[in-house]
């Protein structure tokens, strides 16, 4: 029990020090370290070790080349999508990890990323930065239940896109508005950082309507949506600081 109490106090101390940025240097070092592949030590004979090292070097060069190719391709795609972001600079970020509700990218405060930064791929909204450290950011996907995006359909119906266990859906659409299957849903856009609904660029694709749920007795109608991107296959994304 004594050990637990000591470590509890140490944890509290770390939280306190981190809050004031005192641990930013070692934290940054670890973050940068974890952005690369981790190599475990091996105990082989020297010749095999050397050959393996050479092999690894060649392989890593190949991977670098492949990454550059992917990055180039992604940049080319993004250049075509310039109309959405206008004059804003885009930051290319590598996807480091992903869960059902969020992705983690290798750009952070040091690259000018802040809370609320929009993340896109082509003209498609990937999500918004909800947590940021020096070299890493967490991007909340529209499928997350805590995500609320003001949206409009291509025919002008206004609502809020939110997530849940069954995927994402367009909610709070008044009954007098018309929504139908295959309607494109776009961000309504409100860049002022006033509340949880603001801070999105306008006219980014969120997804399309797959099913409309309309009850005459209800105040609002709802529509099930499907996103155009397979987030699990994303290698790079673009951040709009």
């Amino acid at each position: 029990m004594k050990k637990i109490i000591i470590l509890l106090i140490l944890s509290l101390l770390i939280i306190f020090l981190d809050r004031f940025g005192i641990l930013s240097y070692p934290k940054g070092l670890i973050e940068r370290g974890l952005s690369f592949r981790i190599n475990f030590p091996n105990f082989e004979n020297q010749e095999v070790k050397k050959l393996r090292e050479e092999n690894t070097k060649i392989m890593s060069q190949l991977v670098d080349q492949q990454n550059l190719k992917l990055e180039n391709e992604a940049l080319r795609i993004q250049l075509n999508a310039g109309r959405v972001t206008g004059e804003k600079n885009l930051i290319v970020a590598k996807v480091l990890g992903r869960t059902a509700r969020a992705i983690f990218v290798d750009k952070g405060e040091k690259d000018g990323i802040a809370f609320g930064t929009n993340v896109l791929y082509e003209n498609i909204l990937v999500g918004r930065v909800v947590a940021v450290s020096q070299y890493r950011s967490k991007v909340e996907l529209p499928t997350s239940s805590s995500s609320k995006i003001p949206a409009k359909t291509e025919h002008g119906a206004i609502g809020i896109v939110t997530g849940g266990p069954a995927g994402m859906f367009l909610d709070k659409v008044t009954l007098n508005e018309q929504i139908s299957e295959d309607d494109l849903v776009l961000t309504a856009g409100n860049l002022s950082q006033e509340n949880e609904l603001s801070g999105y660029l306008p006219d980014l694709i969120i997804g399309k309507v797959t099913q409309v749920k309309r009850l005459e007795s209800a105040l609002f109608q709802q529509a099930q949506m499907q996103g155009p991107l397979d987030v699990s296959k994303l290698e790079f994304v673009f951040l709009v600081p």
Partner: protein, 134 residues
């Protein structure tokens, strides 16, 4: 044994931080009750999941402290008790860091099911080994 446990905790932390949002590290810590690993894996998870440093360590240590306190009153090897602890702790953990009530509930259920399956499997295996030794 401690080495393999450390490796397992490191791997689960990495999986949890990059692939799936299931508190696997928490389950492993509840099952093995290693305080030092709770502290360090919490720090690793904080870095991977972009959380304030020390928050997850604090959470893990509070859970382990609660288990240690109940150790004297209840048998901590009891599968029902461990499953209950896993459900409650993973539910609170997910709710704290993910703020999704329904998702947290389902995650708690999935992990409880996994832990129950683990106990069942280990019981079957122990019986088989015992029969063979006879």
């Amino acid at each position: 044994m401690k080495f393999w446990l450390s490796i397992s905790v490191f791997i689960t932390s990495f999986i949890e931080g990059t692939l799936i949002f299931l508190p696997l590290t928490l389950v492993l810590l509840v099952l093995r009750r290693s305080i030092i690993l709770a502290f360090f894996s919490g720090l690793l998870l904080d870095v991977l999941q972009v959380r304030p440093l020390g928050v997850t360590s604090l959470f893990f240590l509070v859970i382990l402290a609660a288990i240690t306190l109940y150790k004297k009153k209840l048998s901590i090897e009891n599968p029902v008790f461990v499953s209950l602890v896993v459900f409650v702790s993973s539910f609170v953990y997910s709710l704290t860091f993910n703020r999704d009530l329904t998702g947290s509930f389902y995650q708690g259920l999935i992990l409880t099911f996994l832990v129950a399956a683990y106990f069942l499997m280990s019981r079957i295996l122990t019986k088989k080994v015992y029969k063979r030794s006879l």
